[in-house]
């Protein structure tokens, strides 16, 4: 280590260490494991068995529709943990300890984001596995599963920037959760995650089909079951670029402002 700033390689290694630390927290906080494991499965079972018969005629048929939807919905909710974790580090002083250490300036934030992408990937794999156990069949070519994962993770990364901003602006971790879930509920439910869009009134359909959650759910269905992929996938990616372009600089600016406040 020299007196100059750490290089990219050192920064990446520090990011990995910090991501490892975020994942390690799960081991000592079993409720987090519940949030990332039990909750998504409960969502899937609940929607499938409670609504399946009414919406699709049978639970098996509804599983085809709802599994990609639940994967996307769960991804949206898990982004809240980026903000929650960042805010905890900021308010509890952990972030300041990192900043007083000779490590890359961007490593603490990058570590947090990488850890949450790992959690996201875990949730997707878990939901896919449970879905397959319940009788879900991948009808498109198998590489579609990988493409679906990458697409969902890309949008997750973009949406994480919104939660980074919330995490920076919120007074305490509880406010991050409150605000995060309050804002995300309508975004998730005014979408085609649970029901096909053509069952909704015309005036709502336009909004639903602009929603990145709908676009991502449609693209995921296409990738797993066959059907149109390109248009919804491009739409979802356009949203990802837009969200990143707006919220990444905004979050970094807000973070620096908060840190300069003392």
């Amino acid at each position: 280590m020299s007196a100059s700033r750490p290089g990219v390689v050192a920064g990446l290694r520090q990011t990995a260490t910090l991501a490892w630390r975020s994942l390690l927290q799960i081991r000592h906080n079993p409720w987090e494991l519940g949030d990332f494991s039990i909750q998504p499965i409960l969502f899937l079972l609940l929607f499938m068995f409670v609504f399946g018969g009414a919406i699709a005629g049978s639970t098996a048929e509804y599983l085809r529709f709802i599994l990609p939807g639940v994967i996307v919905m769960n991804m949206v909710f898990v982004t809240v943990y980026v903000g929650y974790g960042l805010n905890t580090d900021l308010t509890r002083g952990v972030f300041d300890r990192f900043r007083a250490m000779p490590i890359a300036r961007w490593a603490p934030l990058a570590g947090r984001i990488v850890a949450d992408l790992v959690k996201q990937a875990w949730c997707i794999l878990l939901l896919m596995a449970v879905g397959l156990l319940l009788g879900f069949r991948v009808e498109a070519p198998w590489p579609g599963v990988l493409a679906m994962m990458l697409l969902v993770l890309t949008v997750a990364l973009a949406m994480s920037w919104i939660m980074v901003l919330v995490g920076v602006l919120a007074r305490d971790p509880e406010h991050v959760q409150l605000f995060g879930f309050t804002a995300l509920f309508p975004v998730t439910f005014i979408s085609n995650v649970f029901v096909p869009v053509d069952t909704m009134p015309d005036w709502l359909q336009g909004a639903v089909m602009l929603n990145p959650v709908s676009l991502l759910a449609d693209a995921s269905r296409g990738l797993l079951l066959g059907g149109p992929v390109l248009a919804p996938a491009l739409g979802a990616l356009a949203w990802a670029v837009l969200l990143t372009a707006v919220f990444a600089p905004l979050s970094v600016w807000a973070l620096n402002r908060r840190l300069a406040r003392g």
Binding site: M1, A3, L18, R21, L24, D89, R92, D96, M101
Partner: protein, 322 residues
């Protein structure tokens, strides 16, 4: 792995005219500071005096509005990365991760500093042993007592063997026993040659640990020197009178002012004033007799740092200081 050394002929910490405002609140109004290598300097002041802001600037967490500072000979802003390789920071805001175990916290920091897995494990075990945390090493820090948490905090800031250590109110909120334990640990560090800048609201703590004390109030250094020098500056002793009757407080105040040529501190029926020597006692008793004033108590005692602090920052601040 090499870390930069403290530049040989520079003080461990040097600050000139540090100023900082947060919006309309002025936190620092021009702080000067010099800490020689290997010494312990205690910054003493009430809440809001600017102690934490000073430490945060020196630890590269904040950029001052004006003024310059060097730590180990490196500029805190322009050479921040070199400074970070020399310092350790423990404070209420630079904390450990409560959701990790004690050992994991230390491992994480060692790994961030570039130590190998084996080095990190050895360093963590050593520190856990030294700080009497080995029995709790596998428990989440959240479950630690206040004293254990502070010890872990201190251990965490020592992982990289810092040459200069900032301790921001290290014992605030601890019970007396935990405080004494932490003091002992700090003394051992100092014996190894670590330079320490300590902030505290406890006069006793500054007196117990610091070679030199810097008294800060309202963003300025208002006095500095050894505990002895500070006492000499405001009187080596304190004369305390307790009036027998509240109506006589004003008369006693005038009398003390005349004898000592300083403004007495008044708290209820209790008056105190710095005194140069014991001769003042005879004088006071004679004048009390002449004026037929009754007192419940007359005491002449060695000045505590409390007296120093009150004289410097309380009403006594009106008194021109040498």
């Amino acid at each position: 792995m090499r870390t930069p050394r403290v530049r040989a002929d520079s003080p461990a910490i040097l600050a000139h005219g540090l100023r900082k405002a947060f919006g309309a609140t002025r936190a620092l109004a021009g702080v000067d500071l010099e800490v020689p290598q290997g010494s312990v300097v205690g910054m003493l002041g009430p809440n809001g005096a600017g102690k934490t802001t000073t430490v945060r600037i020196l630890a590269t967490l904040l950029v001052p509005d004006a003024g310059d500072a060097w730590v180990g000979g490196f500029h805190v802003h322009r050479e921040a990365h070199a400074v970070r390789q020399l310092i350790g920071l423990t404070g209420q805001y630079a904390s450990v991760d409560e959701r990790l175990t004690g050992r994991e916290n230390l491992l994480m920091i060692a790994r961030l500093l570039g130590q190998s897995r084996a080095q990190a494990r050895a360093r963590a075990d050593r520190l856990l042993e030294t700080f009497s945390l080995a029995h709790a090493a596998g428990r989440a820090a959240r479950s630690y007592s206040g004293g254990m948490r502070r010890r872990l905090d201190l251990a965490a800031s020592l992982v990289g063997r810092p040459r200069i250590l900032f301790l921001d109110e290290p014992t605030t909120g601890l019970d007396p026993r935990a405080r004494l334990e932490l003091w002992q640990l700090i003394r051992e560090l100092v014996a190894e040659g670590t330079t320490v800048l300590l902030t505290t609201q406890y006069l006793e703590e500054a007196d117990a640990l610091a070679d030199e004390i810097v008294v800060v109030d309202q963003g300025r250094v208002i006095a500095s020197g050894t505990a002895e020098q500070l006492k000499a500056q405001v009187g080596a002793r304190a004369l305390v009178l307790v009036a027998a009757d509240e109506t006589e407080v004003a008369a006693l105040q005038a009398l003390l002012r005349e004898i000592s040529e300083r403004e007495p501190q008044v708290e209820g029926r209790r008056l105190s004033v710095p005194a140069a020597d014991a001769a003042v006692l005879r004088q006071v008793v004679r004048r009390l007799d002449e004026a037929s004033l009754d007192v419940d108590e007359v005491t002449l005692r060695s000045a505590s740092l409390d007296d120093v602090f009150l004289a410097l920052t309380g009403h006594g601040a009106e008194t021109p200081l040498p």
